[in-house]
Subunit: 184 residues, 2 copies
DNA sequence: CTATTGCGGATATAAAATATCCATGATAAA
DNA sequence: TTTATCATGGATATTTTATATCCGCAATAG
């Protein structure tokens, strides 16, 4: 028995949980002072997620050029560039991959009727329409900067939550002795 | 060694293959005459997909009110309303589910520091931003009507492919004896 | 009555996401 | 120099999801 439209199907197009953790980590890293870092373990504790798995995503973000990493006892992660120049799209693409959600399997030419390949030079219209929609999705993510997320948090969130977050960063951030190479 | 941005990660946010088959089926059903139907087996053959699995999606589309189904030897599927009033969003939501791709796990309050629930009344800004982007995605899918897909196919696709598709529909469609209830 | 079709449930298989572990190299501090 | 801490990368296990198949049932045209 179907009660409402949400019973039609369970889930479907889903974004991995790593995206949520990654964005939260990036937002938290936007709050460290100067060239300080936060360890992956600290951030995993802050959000109650699996440390070893979060490290994978942080590693991916580093390879993608969103984060910077430093080894050693004072090591950890920090933003690779100012929060104003990091968009949610940068993070989502890094963690989830750049491939579109809709992958055209060209099933239009998988039928029993065999037509020469020349009959399918024009792209599938369904694929075009789906990619167009995804382009709109990515455009919307591209305008959302990490700095906006942080500003919104500091302005709108409960003061207790803001204070707790700042305290956590202040307690766990690791200042660098010599000013290691950092953006700008 | 990373050669290009596509090596960052394999895949991520993915749309099931059922979506592609479902849209193709709906587009094909837009081509039947009057109140005729196409059997699920015929459409599975047309696109070279698993019949039993496709039936599941067609069934879901029927429950969602996108398609209509008739049992019996002359039975099968047909559109539940004109192609002008069926959008790609209708199909995607029916097949993939209406839940958003980004599900906020509220990991902001899963940390070691326990704040009262009252500190998290305001929605998570990250969740808001992600849902906003998905809203843009759905809006773009909502304006893409099935009739546009069909028209684009007939106008732009190779004449041989159009002819083959029409021939397939003409050969497999099942006309109804008495005009069964159908949208006007 | 018979053959065909959609429907629904149960179940199996394949693939992907999630999570853990360990060896390694780099680095700061003692 | 030694030690402890941290990121890195590979290998692997676990869990979840998507995909696929099968069977009994109800409906219906001939």
């Amino acid at each position: 028995m179907i009660n409402n439209i949400y019973d039609w199907k369970g889930d479907g197009m889903k974004l991995g949980e790593g995206v949520e953790a990654s964005i939260h980590c990036a937002a938290m890293l936007a709050g460290v002072e100067g060239d300080a870092t936060l360890s992956g373990a600290a951030m995993a504790e802050a959000f109650g997620v699996s440390p070893s798995y979060l490290l994978k995503h942080l590693n991916t973000l580093t390879s993608a050029g969103v984060l910077e990493s430093l080894p050693g006892p004072a090591g950890g992660y920090r933003l690779a560039r100012p929060a104003e120049r990091i968009s949610l799209l940068d993070i989502v693409l890094a963690v989830e991959g750049a491939q579109p959600a809709f992958r055209c399997g060209e099933i239009r030419q998988r039928g029993p009727v065999k037509l020469p390949a020349s009959a399918y030079m024009k792209p599938c219209g369904i694929n075009v329409a789906m990619l167009k929609a995804e382009k709109a999705y990515r455009a919307a993510l591209a305008v959302e900067k990490l700095s906006d997320i942080v500003a919104g948090f500091q302005n709108d969130a409960d003061p207790r939550a803001v204070a707790a977050s700042c305290a956590f960063v202040a307690r766990h951030q690791r200042l660098q002795k010599s000013s290691s190479p950092r953006y700008k």
